[in-house]
Symmetry: C2
Subunit: 235 residues, 2 copies
């Protein structure tokens, strides 16, 4: 069994990995913000940069997965400590997928602006609130992961439902636009792909929040009603 | 360091987990096949069963993640063996996400058929080839995982590109339908959500194939050109 010394070394190694995961989170956050800006402004060179930057995120995923494996082999953590490493591995996967979704937003921004705008449908305004709420949710999820704040994590899980509702509303609005003016169909569809990417990013932020609770409480709350029971009448 | 005895026990434990992961794969495969059938036929009670069955898949994810953690703590595997456990954990995550996508297909099937069909657009025929290719890809990915067949895994990664192309073609077809007859917009959109879910399932099958190569070759080929180099002029 690992003694005190080995356990302390484990803590140091784990903290080093966690801090790199948080840097990866920061990178993904700015990739996402840039992609949304490109969707708004049609800055195509910047969209290409976002797509290119995804390679860095992908490399970080491989490096950090590897660092987690080395940590396990070298420190042979006990069940409790291993749980934190497992959750960190899952967070890394979610961050990489958020990077993928940001890339999809940048690609959509490119094709939409290359095709040129159509009158009547403001594609950015249609997703603005959802995009802002998703960015906040992701930011708060990373913050909850940094501070291992389970209260904040529980609230994030509840807030993801709002984003899903906003997605539903955007679908209905876009259908109306397409029906009233078929010239808006391509732009409306691009707007829907962006909204879909936002919905996925919200899901990944929720996953990160679930792993925070898993680490803090030692409880796997995925696919359970835990958060609703915990927040009670607050939601 | 683990001796021969402990390493043999590790192999037995790991094989038990792998066989359960394959059962989970079988469950997810049939959930997916059922969802596509519901999209075809509009069998709403069956769609509700698919949605309900996702709880079993979710429970399996939690149980099997847990089994992997126990295996690591109990057997303290060396780097080589740990790699297999890590890959198994990632496969479990992908299978759970495939279950989610199958659920989305079932939900779309429900809403489409509750709204009733519109003339001119055959929603099922529009995605049939893509759905068949995706089901084959998933089946072959699970087969490659069962037999740890890296050759088959490399071919799966290449085949995923075909599915992505089919997705692009479906988008173009649906835009044409919507432009020519705005009454088809809701059905065309539902068809696109199903095609999007198929594209995601193809990605997850590709991920599973990548983990097979990671286990067999000890090589992390995610985000690399490995498969194209390996298959050479065959693709």
């Amino acid at each position: 069994m690992p003694g005190d010394h080995s356990s302390k070394q484990f803590d140091l190694d784990l903290e080093a990995i966690r801090s790199k995961v948080l840097s990866m989170g920061g990178l993904v956050e700015s990739q996402f913000a840039d992609a949304v800006q490109c969707f708004r402004s049609g800055d195509i060179p910047r969209a290409e940069q976002v797509i290119k930057a995804d390679e860095n995120v992908n490399r970080l995923e491989v490096t950090l997965d590897d660092a987690c494996s080395h940590l396990i082999v070298r420190r042979q953590p006990a069940a409790n400590d291993l749980r934190t490493v497992m959750a960190t591995l899952k967070v890394i996967t979610d961050l990489e997928r958020i990077g993928d979704e940001a890339t999809k937003i940048a690609r959509t921004a490119k094709s939409l602006h290359e095709r040129g705008p159509v009158g009547g449908l403001n594609h950015y305004e249609s997703v603005r609130v959802m995009a802002e709420n998703t960015a906040d949710l992701l930011h708060d999820a990373l913050d909850a992961f940094a501070r291992l704040d389970e209260g904040q994590a529980a609230r994030i899980i509840a807030r993801d439902a709002t984003i899903d509702n906003e997605f539903g509303a955007i679908i209905r609005t876009m259908i109306t636009f397409m029906m009233e003016d078929p010239r808006t169909i391509s732009t409306a569809l691009d707007t829907l792909w962006v909204a879909k990417a936002l919905e996925r990013i919200g899901d990944h932020a929720k996953n990160i929040a679930e792993y925070v609770i898993y680490v803090v409480e030692g409880k796997d709350i995925r696919h359970s009603d835990y958060v609703y029971t915990r927040l009670g009448s607050a939601i």
